[in-house]
Amino acid sequence: MLSQQITTLIDKELKKYPADQRQSAVMAALRFVQDEKGWIAPDDMVDIAAYIGMPQMAVYEVATFYHMYNLKPTGKYTLTVCTNLSCQLCGSDDTLAHLHKKLGIGLGEVTTDGKYGIREGECMGACVDAPMFTINNKKLCGRLTPQKIDQILADLEGGQA
């Protein structure tokens, strides 16, 4: 079931589109579910399809098309590390190595306590700050060094996402 918060947000989103084009709100709806639950389960897609009034398969198409929708449970904090050219040249491998050292996980993995997950990301359009990662697709962290990563992880430990 979609929570009250999610349906309120979807309702608000639906107002942006003509009444006969409700499916325009599907991307936002998927995002709201992911923000609340961390990932999007097939059951959530069924609920979204029913709520918006579109085929389940069409929701699935959108959810699988975009990389930033998590279709599997992931950590409470998902670090999406950019591995594209600029970041790579500026040391994204070092970022990954350091994260592996600190958290014991690599790309596509989740820590056993479910707190952290690491995903591979594409260019975030801010190469001036390379290398970089995002936290839960929301917060962009750039010019990463081992010290800075330690600081960010310590902040996350302290609950400041």
Binding site: P42, P55, M57, A58, Y60, F65
Partner: protein
């Protein structure tokens, strides 16, 4: 009209047409894979690249609109180079497993690659692998690596079938066609995806690895499984039907077939086929020679006719039989002096007999339904009873027509329904009366409120109104009144009204006079006042009759039951003679479709075993009894005799007079609402294993509104006892809140509910 030039040929075409359409009109072939004339344009395979003068690069013909003076070259160096380039890319990930692929020999990709593909591939890396999927018992999606992602199947689901069951998930190199969370494809039109798939990704599961396309012989036939009269190409090998494909006809089935028409053939090769004549002696069945069986039957008939009178003999037939068979059956019965012959086995109201001016039919050509702008569909399980008509109406609705529904269930029609009135069966007449009244009021410029008024308003605003009565309305105990009201409503909005015929030959059976006339007994009275002898033609009494309880009792009480059947069915328990007859693929014959189209066909294969076409059997029966006029040598001679002096167009008439319309007092207790499930309509379909494995063939349940369940202290999913008349059955209860209150929806025509009584009426549901 605008003028363009393709390959130097001057062509006049409509403004707004695409280059592809213009080329096809002119008979110029442009290679294509994703383009299909009945589907929306996707433009994703890029195979149809052509050179257009003044365009800097090749353009896709399917997605390029024509403009005045355009010059197109489909075989220029630039065009061919582009086409070859696209083909090379298409083949990069294609497994090229043509030697073991079912599509081999009839594959668009294979054909086009012969023209545009290279001899060698420049691609030496690993090919993409897409895992196979199980999407149900009809469509095989085992080798999805063959898929070229043209999305024809997806577009078919969205646009024609009305439900998007397949989609293209993931992206780029990872894109694959799949169903949502490994679900099955349950559309009643799913088989068309097999035809549409231009490669071997979606193939027919029942036909898989049975034969190569070039080994098959093709015979034209007509579908026996619904009243549309769809054209079939029956593909045979070694005297067996191995598959069935559509024959295109835009006025009937377009290029589609319903799954029922396409996969029913599996029932033809069922192990239950009756292949030798049998008689029952001392309670035991014995296989005998034809001569023995026929003499046994005729002796019995002669004995009863002489002893107790010919009116003790009754004949029942189903309208899945051919015109020739039906005609000879009634001729035979009338020859031995009995008027008791009928095919309307599921009908319960015969008060229309004598008041009906002609044979009930669709009331218009099928193609006219596409042109309707307002429809009122009364009492029809539209999608399941008439899958392709439903698809046609769906297209009309997409173009702006308004569909109004009056029915006792509210199944999803997968189209926009403008207004609907969902009421218990005993209130149908009342609702139609209200609509009719509201229409009259509407004519005076006033308007009322309520569902009936909304329907009336919708109808009144139309220019081409169509009122259709479905199977449920025809089987309804007040069918005559429903017909009279439909006639009235259609007249008020200057529209047409008609019947969605139940079976392949529902119209033909009327024209062949398989009705009792004034002196005979109709199907219901023949069973209500049991006869001593029954002659059955393609009848499974416990499944095909309105009241199976009564039908079985009558059969068991009879002295002699002569069953002409293609199958060893339940008749083994009550019949005395079983005569093996040929189903429609094994005999020549004629069906008259619901639009009155007379279509004859030849047998596709020889009859199995000792089975013989029923018209021959009836002819010999006539000879043995020394009846006049049983000397036809061919089925064509029978047809010509049956149709001699029959002006089909003049005989088709839905008009009735003198039917008193009166709302019935509402019944007390739970009322039964029953449909004949889509894959339980006739003997062949009932034995098609792949169709019986689909979701639509799931065992029937007792569907009630959840409030009704609560009132009865029951829960969905628990086993309940359903009683009607003297019989009862156990089914699982299920909740459907779209049903009206006070009804229980329990399917008929199914072995699980054959112990119950009439399709309509009071029924009790209690904890088992």
């Amino acid at each position: 009209m605008i003028n363009i030039e393709i390959d130097g040929k001057q062509i006049q075409t409509e403004n707004g047409a695409t280059v592809m359409e213009a080329a096809q009109q002119a008979g110029i072939t442009i290679p294509h894979l994703c383009y299909h004339k009945k589907l929306s344009i996707a433009g994703n395979c890029r195979m149809c690249m052509v050179q257009v003068e003044k365009a800097p690069k090749p353009l896709p013909a399917c997605a390029t609109p024509v403009v005045e003076g355009m010059k197109v070259f489909t075989h220029s160096e630039q065009a061919v180079k582009a086409q070859q380039g696209v083909m090379e890319f298409l083949l990069v990930n294609h497994p090229l497993d043509c030697p073991i692929c079912d599509q081999g020999g009839e594959c668009m990709l294979q054909d086009i690659s012969v023209g545009y593909g290279g001899v060698h591939s420049r691609y030496h890396e690993e090919k993409r692998v897409v895992l196979g999927k199980d999407i149900g018992p009809l469509v095989a999606a085992e080798e999805m690596s063959r898929c070229i992602n043209c999305t024809r199947c997806v577009r078919f689901g969205q646009e024609i079938a009305g439900q998007m069951e397949l989609g293209q998930a993931f992206r780029g190199e990872h894109a694959e066609i799949m169903s949502f969370v490994s679900g099955t494809v349950n559309s009643e039109l799913s088989g068309n995806m097999i035809d549409l798939c231009p490669v071997g990704a979606l193939t027919s599961k029942p036909f898989r690895y049975k034969a190569r396309s070039w080994e098959l012989s093709r015979r034209r036939s007509i579908s026996a499984h619904d009243s549309l009269g769809s054209g079939l190409a029956v593909h045979t090998m070694n005297n067996r039907v191995l598959r069935v494909l559509p024959i295109e006809n835009d006025d009937i089935n377009e290029c589609w077939l319903s799954d029922k028409d396409r996969f029913a053939y599996e029932g033809l090769n069922s192990a239950e086929r009756l292949t030798t004549p049998m008689i029952k002696q001392d309670g035991k069945w014995q296989e005998v020679e034809w001569q023995v069986a026929l003499e046994y039957a005729t002796n019995g008939l002669r004995h009863i006719a002489n002893g107790m009178g010919a009116e003790q003999i009754g004949a029942l037939a189903t309208a899945y039989s051919t015109l020739e068979e039906l005609y000879l059956l009634q001729k035979f019965m009338r020859g031995i002096g009995s008027q008791n012959v009928d095919f309307r086995l599921r009908q319960s109201d015969f008060s229309v007999d004598g008041k009906q001016q002609g044979a009930p039919w669709l009331g218009m050509p099928i193609a006219d339904i596409s042109k309707a702008d307002r429809l009122l569909i009364v009492g029809s399980f539209l999608r399941k009873d008439h899958p392709l008509l439903a698809a046609r109406i769906r297209q009309a609705v997409k173009k702006g027509a308004q569909a109004n529904i009056i029915h006792s269930t509210d199944d999803d029609l997968l189209m926009k329904v403008a207004n609907k009135a969902i009421v218990a069966p005993d209130a149908l007449v009342e609702v139609l009366m209200q609509v009719s009244k509201a229409l009259a009021v509407e004519k005076q410029g006033q308007s009322a409120s309520g569902e009936a008024a909304s329907i009336a308003k919708s109808l009144a605003s139309g220019e081409r109104v169509v009122v259709l009565l479905g199977n449920f309305a025809q089987q309804h105990p007040q069918a005559a009144q429903l017909q009279a009201l439909a006639q009235q409503i259609a007249a008020l909005c200057k529209g047409k009204f008609g019947f969605l015929g139940e079976a392949a030959n529902s119209v033909g059976a009327y024209l062949a006079q398989v009705t009792p006339g004034a002196k005979g007994l109709n199907a219901a009275s023949m069973l209500a006042t049991p006869r001593k002898v029954y002659v059955l033609l393609n009848v499974e009494a416990e499944l095909d009759c309105a009241n199976p309880q009564q039908a079985i009792a009558a059969m068991q009480a009879a002295d002699l039951v002569i069953a002409m059947s293609a199958y060893k069915n339940h008749a083994m328990e009550y019949a005395d003679v079983l005569l093996p007859i040929a189903p429609f693929t094994e005999t020549s014959g004629t069906f008259i479709s619901t639009e009155g189209r007379v279509q004859s066909f030849k047998g596709a294969v020889k009859p199995q075993g000792e089975a013989r076409p029923a018209w021959k059997v009836l002819r010999v029966l006539g000879n043995l009894l020394k009846l006049d006029g049983f000397d036809q040598d061919t089925s064509e001679a029978v047809r010509d005799e049956a149709m001699n002096g029959v002006d089909v167009a003049a005989k088709l008439n839905n008009a009735i007079d003198g039917v008193e319309v009166q709302a019935a007092p509402s019944a007390s207790g739970l009322q039964r609402v029953s449909e004949v499930p889509i894959y339980a309509t006739d003997a062949v379909v009932r034995r098609s294993a792949p169709l019986q494995a689909t979701a639509d063939a799931a065992p029937p349940r007792a569907w009630l509104h959840s409030d009704e369940l609560k009132k009865l202290g029951l829960q969905a999913g628990e086993s309940v006892k359903i009683s009607q008349g003297q019989g009862s059955v156990k089914l699982l209860a299920a909740a459907d809140d779209k049903l009206p209150k006070g009804v229980a929806r329990i399917a008929a025509g199914h072995a699980a509910t054959a112990a119950l009584g009439a399709m309509f009426g009071t029924i009790t549901v209690e904890r088992a």
